[in-house]
């Protein structure tokens, strides 16, 4: 699936908007939670405190805005996934080959990190810092590629399961129709 730039811009804006709202609310409620210890009452066997109420409200906000944040985050990962697939030369028709390409990409990254990281970390002053950022970058790319592999494995399994279900349902239909015919003949 391809997205136009306006759509992506809109999603990026929404992602940051909801992320900021979420952070603000969580921060605000945490501050409030620390200050509060006024209300306390009992409902059946449970003791309800103002802290608990604030936590419930925080959880509700977290679920509401967190949902949108996750939806947009998934979209960004999918976009990165598409870009990675394009870079790795994925072929729509051959999923096993795609998985093999991904494994090759992970091995290549691993070998490259073995080569680059010791060299970068030996640089004076900021060497270690740059090396740790590079390490993080390598890990992030590996995460995207593993996400890619999972997608491919899922779609591969899904195709096979769909095929099997189709085949079973066809056989059942055939069986039922032949039995119906036989009973009609009787």
């Amino acid at each position: 699936m391809s997205y136009n730039s306006n759509f992506i811009r809109e999603k990026v804006f929404r992602f940051f908007k909801y992320l900021l709202i979420l952070l603000f609310i969580v921060f605000f409620l945490r501050v409030l939670e620390r200050q509060s210890s006024f209300i306390q009452f009992q409902v059946l066997d449970y003791m309800v405190t103002d802290k608990l109420i604030i936590r419930i409200i925080a959880t509700m906000f977290f679920i509401y805005y967190g949902y949108f944040v996750l939806v947009d985050l998934k979209l960004f990962i999918d976009l990165l996934n598409q870009y990675t697939a394009k870079t790795l030369g994925y072929n729509e028709s051959n999923k096993i080959k795609n998985i093999a390409y991904s494994v090759a990409a992970i091995i290549s990254l691993f070998l490259a990190s073995l080569l680059v990281l010791p060299f970068v970390s030996s640089l004076p002053t900021y060497g270690n810092l740059i090396a740790s950022y590079l390490n993080l970058a390598f890990l992030a790319i590996v995460f995207i590629i593993i996400y890619n592999i999972s997608n491919e494995v899922y779609s591969l399994a899904k195709d096979k399961i769909d095929e099997t279900i189709d085949e079973i349902s066809k056989q059942i239909t055939r069986e039922i129709s032949s039995r119906t015919k036989k009973s009609e003949e009787k």
Partner: protein, 427 residues
């Protein structure tokens, strides 16, 4: 990070590139060489001062010369029309029955692939089969597929018939005559079992007799050159047969024959060089270095010790296991890297389980040669066969391949297994 892990990862990476055909096999192997050198120097397996000398010591010049010589010689001889001449002469002698001609062509594929590369023999026989099928107005699909299957049987006959044979013999000191004496009976046995099945499969072809009105000499442009080519070719074959008496490296005989053919042939050398499969030569040299890296990093040692531990319960099964491991791997990966990796492994295993390398290596040779026909991508001759059929508007997919070729190849592998067991019993 452990050096063995790094070199195993490099090997897995190259295998993935070879299986998926992401890059040309020679390019993938050259990438493997680059990684082996870089990480070899980093981990101290190679010294940077003596690097070229150390790399050169990993390559076996005898095998490389043999391969290059055979390739040049086969190309130069094929250009004289010798093989087309032989095929047309046989077709003329046999007469107009298409079934008989088809069978003779299938047998000729075995003979041609004994001396030529599988690709060259498939191209020659495939083109002749198509032109005859057109004359008889029949579908050539089954015949071409049978020929593709039989090219690898021809690869069993002589030491020079396929590259895995050359690599294994160079490592295990199997002589030309010893190779022929051991493998020829198997090739005959496989042909005797396979040909009747193929005959039954092509039984439905028309029996209408056509007069074959082709003079075999029409494919020969220069009779003088033709006779000179036959002479050089025979001399090289005799050189291979009497190698034990001549005491000359087999690679020198091969390259000597190629040079003689270039001198006596009077053909344009540039055009012959351009037809030589340099990709395979680069691939071969590169894999010597990659396997050398695996050896130096102890990967092969660790792998061999584990395999030897598994085999210690039944050492007699080692050759049988070799056939099936090589056969099944050759269905997807080129048989050269498989052979080159397994040979040093077998050298280590033989020391541990007390079975000679020679007896273990027959399994590798038979598996590597026959297994290529399990899938349409397993051997270059299969790809050529499918290409010839596609050109004629016949699209043969994996299903058709499995339906027609898989039973034949599995049967051949079972015969080879029984033969290897027989060899181990009599030795």
């Amino acid at each position: 990070m452990n050096v063995s892990t790094v070199f195993s990862l490099i090997f897995v990476l190259i295998l993935i590139f070879l299986v998926t055909e992401r890059y040309h096999r020679s390019v993938a192997a050259l990438l493997g060489v680059l990684l082996t050198i870089v990480y070899g120097v980093i981990y101290g397996l190679f010294s940077s001062q003596n690097l070229l000398h150390e790399l050169a010591s990993l390559i076996d010049p005898n095998t490389v010369l043999l391969v290059v010589g055979v390739m040049i010689l086969a190309e130069a001889v094929a250009r004289t029309g010798l093989f087309e001449f032989a095929a047309l002469s046989i077709a003329k002698i046999i007469g107009g029955d298409f079934r008989r001609i088809s069978l003779s062509f299938i047998l000729l594929t075995v003979v041609f692939s004994t001396f030529l590369s599988n690709i060259t023999s498939m191209i020659i026989i495939g083109a002749l089969t198509i032109s005859l099928a057109k004359q008889f107005e029949v579908d050539p699909t089954d015949i071409i597929l049978s020929e593709a299957v039989m090219t690898n049987v021809g690869g069993l006959i002589l030491l020079i018939s396929s590259i895995p044979n050359l690599i294994v013999s160079a490592h295990t000191q199997i002589g030309f005559t010893e190779f022929f004496k051991t493998s020829f009976p198997l090739a005959v046995l496989i042909s005797l079992v396979t040909i009747p099945i193929i005959y039954r499969k092509i039984f439905h072809y028309c029996t209408i007799e056509h007069e074959i009105d082709v003079d075999p000499w029409t494919v020969v442009d220069d009779r003088g050159l033709f006779y000179r080519a036959v002479f050089v070719f025979m001399c090289v074959i005799l050189g291979f047969i009497f190698i034990d008496y001549l005491k000359i490296p087999i690679g020198l005989i091969s390259i000597g024959g190629a040079i003689a053919m270039l001198v006596l042939g009077g053909q344009e050398p540039e055009s012959i060089y351009s037809e030589v499969d340099w990709g395979t030569v680069f691939f071969l040299i590169s894999f010597y270095i990659i396997v050398g890296g695996l050896e130096k990093s102890e990967v092969l040692n660790i792998f061999s010790e584990n395999v030897a531990h598994l085999l210690s319960f039944r050492p007699d099964l080692a050759s049988v296991l070799n056939i099936w491991v090589c056969g099944l791997s050759s269905a997807f990966v080129d048989n050269i890297p498989i052979t080159m990796t397994l040979i040093p492994v077998m050298e280590i295993i033989s020391g541990i389980i007390g079975v000679s390398v020679k007896s273990l290596s027959w399994g590798i040779i038979y598996g590597a040669n026959l297994g290529g026909n399990l899938t349409p991508i397993g051997s270059p001759s299969n790809i050529i066969a499918l290409g010839i059929l596609k050109k004629e508007g016949k699209n043969v997919g994996w299903n058709k391949w499995f339906e027609y070729c898989l039973p034949l190849v599995l049967m051949q592998l079972f015969i080879a297994t029984a033969y290897v067991v027989f060899l181990s019993v009599i030795s």
